[in-house]
């Protein structure tokens, strides 16, 4: 029934982009505020948390490699438990998309599209992501393959362009000032983002050569963690921890620090455009997963017709989500990450029950 359309290479490229876009676009400010010099350490710990979560869901997915979790989940924990849990996961993912969209419109309004009503921005973004999601699972992974090299180039170029502003003596702080205690809030926040790779569970039957998925997970998590660290370090070395902690978008600010008079001075719109495309890929993937899950729960034949209604729902809830930056962050603090963690660990519950049931079955068979 299902075709194995997603290759391991695509998984690798897609999830690298999936993880780094949100972190670099929106989280770097928060991460630096929480951890300062310990932030790179926090990223590493977060990556480890993410790998553990993803490994658990892959291990679970491997038990039934050709069936969809949303289908067989009901057989494991009964329908009465399965549907509410699935609803929770869907809600969390909807919230994730809404949060990301809110941050996109906030950033665009603040810097580039001052005066444009936010619903127009959200509407256009929504249109983009739902179009992509409608083209099916292949579209996101194909797009990620294309974007991958472009974003890698920007990641190498940015540190190079600001290197004249770097104060290398500050690099020593990574060794002397960093501590696990300070790194923990970052690790917790980022762990939930690295853990988003556990969405693999929901598309597992689409993956070709699925036995290599674990190896791929390690590869993309390592690359993503490295990329994030490659961004954090220049920011800390250029701005220093005290200034970096006080900026909402330190990433944009260091791009703007590129030596005045140089023709690359106004590079930030190009970077923003790249970020936007990457984040659209990510959001359309989540949107695809949501529609996929919903269609299976509702026992529909196709998931495509669901995409526009879901997207409209997300856009309306994004508009209602928060009226100001402060309100947004007071809501965003910690709670969302915990929600995401719970939704990522729900499959673990199934896994445990499944293993126990199987064991009991074996014991019963043996006793017979």
């Amino acid at each position: 029934m299902t075709t194995k359309v997603v290759t391991q290479k695509q998984i690798y490229k897609y999830f690298t982009i999936h993880i780094i876009t949100t972190i670099i676009m929106f989280m770097i400010g928060i991460v630096l505020q929480q951890s300062g010099y310990s932030a790179p350490l926090g990223v590493l710990i977060g990556a480890c948390i993410g790998i553990v979560i993803t490994f658990l869901s892959i291990a679970f997915a491997k038990r039934r490699p050709d069936a969809f979790f949303v289908h067989y989940g009901a057989d494991i924990v009964t329908r009465w438990l399965h549907y509410p849990l699935m609803a929770f996961i869907i809600m969390t993912n909807l919230l994730l998309v809404a949060i990301n969209l809110w941050e996109i419109q906030d950033l665009l309004l603040q810097f580039y599209l001052t005066g444009t009503p936010s619903w127009i921005i959200l509407g256009l973004c929504g249109l983009c992501i739902s179009y992509m999601a409608r083209y099916g699972i292949k579209s996101m992974f194909r797009a990620a393959e294309g974007m991958f090299y472009l974003s890698m180039i920007t990641f190498i170029i940015i540190p190079y362009l600001v290197h004249s502003n770097m104060e290398w003596f500050l690099a020593r702080g990574f060794a002397t000032v960093a501590s696990v205690k300070e790194a923990w809030p970052t690790a917790y926040h980022l762990g939930s983002i690295f853990g988003e790779a556990s969405l693999i569970l929901y598309i597992y039957p689409y993956i070709s050569q699925a036995t290599y998925t674990r190896k791929t997970t390690i590869r993309f998590t390592t690359l993503a963690a490295l990329m994030v660290i490659c961004h954090l370090i220049p920011i800390l070395i250029v701005l220093g921890p005290d200034l970096a902690q006080n900026l909402n978008y330190p990433e944009l600010d260091i791009i703007r620090l590129i030596k005045s008079g140089s023709y690359l001075e106004t590079l930030d719109p190009i970077i923003i455009a790249l970020w936007l495309v990457s984040i659209f890929i990510k959001l359309s993937f989540i949107l695809f997963v949501i529609s996929h899950m919903l269609s299976r729960i509702l026992k529909l034949k196709y998931s495509k017709p669901l995409i526009y209604p879901i997207c409209t729902f997300i856009i309306v809830s994004t508009i209602c989500l928060a009226q100001s930056h402060t309100q947004f962050f007071s809501m965003h603090n910690g709670g969302v990450s915990t929600c995401v963690y719970i939704s990522q660990l729900i499959p673990l519950l199934y896994y445990v029950i499944d293993v126990m049931r199987k064991r009991r079955k074996q014991m019963e068979e043996e006793s017979l």
């Binding site: 599209l113 444009t116 256009l124 249109l127 003596f169 500050l170 005290d242 200034l243 006080n246 703007r256």
Partner: protein, 392 residues
């Protein structure tokens, strides 16, 4: 397919509806001048007058009138004053292109923090906006200045920074660290009189001067002399071309030298329970004049000369540091060196860092300057062509 075409066409209609920025509706602020007077804060926007500019260019001369205009208003706060200036402008003030902020002396004495706050918070003002000080009422001095070698006053400021003629201090430099926040040096723009200065014969031409010491956002005495400012530039690794002369090691007379760039390494070390900031300027200089009998072919003499250049450099840097250190303003943010190298001890003294810096921090200068080239001649003109004949 038809649906797609229609929706794409609809998309095209959306662009440009909102957030459109017409070039003809913008007044691009080239320099922001801020002064304090008895009524409050006076904000001045220096704006290139684009309408006059275009006609001036086509006819070959600025016949249409002024090409650069200053618009100013006074109000109790910075923001109110800005709003008032906007009220006088027929176009929308656009600060996104602004690269320079000039403050007057009185404003600096009472604190430049409102400007730092405005610049840091406003997403349109970049953090690498340069800051300058005018030792007087900035608006009056700048507005009456004669700009000769460039078209606009702002181009002068940009060139000073670009060519490292003036010390470069940006908004960012004041907020590099918490313990020494608001400390920095503000380069001074000078306005000449008729007989000396940037362009002799014209009154009030623009030039560079010394630098003012800012502590916690407020100007403190004394003002650094141009020489001391060069030393400060060197400590900040900004010193470009520098001409200087020192006494010849062999005999009375002086030797002229020229350095193209100075590379300075700064570090902190702990010696006998005391922290030392070690500043190590290294440079290669060229001899450009020899008004003594010194012979550049003799290695020992050159060695002696190098030693006296080192001494000269040590002395200049040490004097400058002494002046700055006395004020307690950590303008070079040495605290950051300590923070990363000795984090444990740093925690103990970070709350009274400025006192520690003023009273206990030792600053060692260790110059290492070499003579790279001796120019095109071996012996000096004096010894080769004049003193040679003296016996006759």
């Amino acid at each position: 397919m038809r649906k797609l075409t229609i929706s794409l066409l609809l998309l095209m209609m959306l662009t440009g509806c909102w957030s459109s920025e017409e070039l003809n509706d913008q007044a691009f602020i080239g320099v922001l001048i801020i002064d304090r007077n008895d009524d409050g804060i006076e904000v001045t926007f220096g704006v290139p007058l684009t309408t006059n500019l275009a006609s001036g260019e086509t006819s070959g001369s600025a016949s249409g009138g002024e090409v650069f205009g200053y618009f100013s208003r006074t109000a109790p706060t910075l923001e109110e004053a800005m709003q008032k200036v906007q009220g006088d402008l027929s176009r929308r003030a656009n600060i996104g292109q602004n690269r320079n902020i000039v403050v007057g002396r009185r404003f600096a004495e009472e604190g430049i923090t409102p400007v730092l706050e405005l610049a840091a918070r406003n997403p349109n003002i970049r953090m690498n906006t340069n800051m300058f000080l005018v030792d007087g009422y900035a608006k009056d001095e700048v507005a009456k200045a004669t700009v000769t070698s460039e078209r606009f006053f702002i181009s002068l400021l940009n060139k000073y920074v670009e060519h490292r003629t003036a010390l470069q201090t940006t908004i960012k430099d004041f907020m590099l660290s918490k313990a020494s926040g608001g400390d920095g040096l503000l380069p001074i723009i000078n306005f000449s009189d008729n007989t000396e200065g940037a362009m002799v014969g014209k009154s009030s031409t623009v030039g560079t001067g010394g630098a003012a010491i800012i502590k916690k956002g407020k100007l403190v005495e004394p003002i650094l002399t141009p020489d001391q400012t060069s030393a400060a530039q060197s400590i900040r690794n900004q010193l470009g071309n520098y001409f200087f002369s020192i006494e010849s090691p062999t005999e009375n007379g002086w030797i002229g030298l020229y350095s193209t760039s100075v590379d300075v390494k700064t570090k902190i070390v702990k010696k006998e329970n005391k922290y030392h900031i070690v500043i190590k300027p290294t440079s290669e200089v060229e001899a450009i004049g020899n008004n003594s009998t010194m012979n550049f072919a003799i290695y020992e003499d050159v060695k002696k000369l190098e030693d006296s250049i080192d001494q000269f450099s040590d002395q200049l840097h040490a004097d400058t540091m002494h002046v700055i250190q006395q004020t307690g303003a950590d303008v070079f943010h040495f605290d950051r060196y300590m923070m990363v190298k000795y984090p444990q001890d740093w925690r103990k003294i970070k709350d009274h860092w400025r006192e520690y810096y003023r009273d206990q921090l030792a600053i060692d200068i260790d110059s290492d300057i070499r003579i790279r080239r001796k120019g095109s001649t071996v012996r000096s003109f004096k010894s080769q062509f004049i003193e040679h004949n003296e016996g006759d």
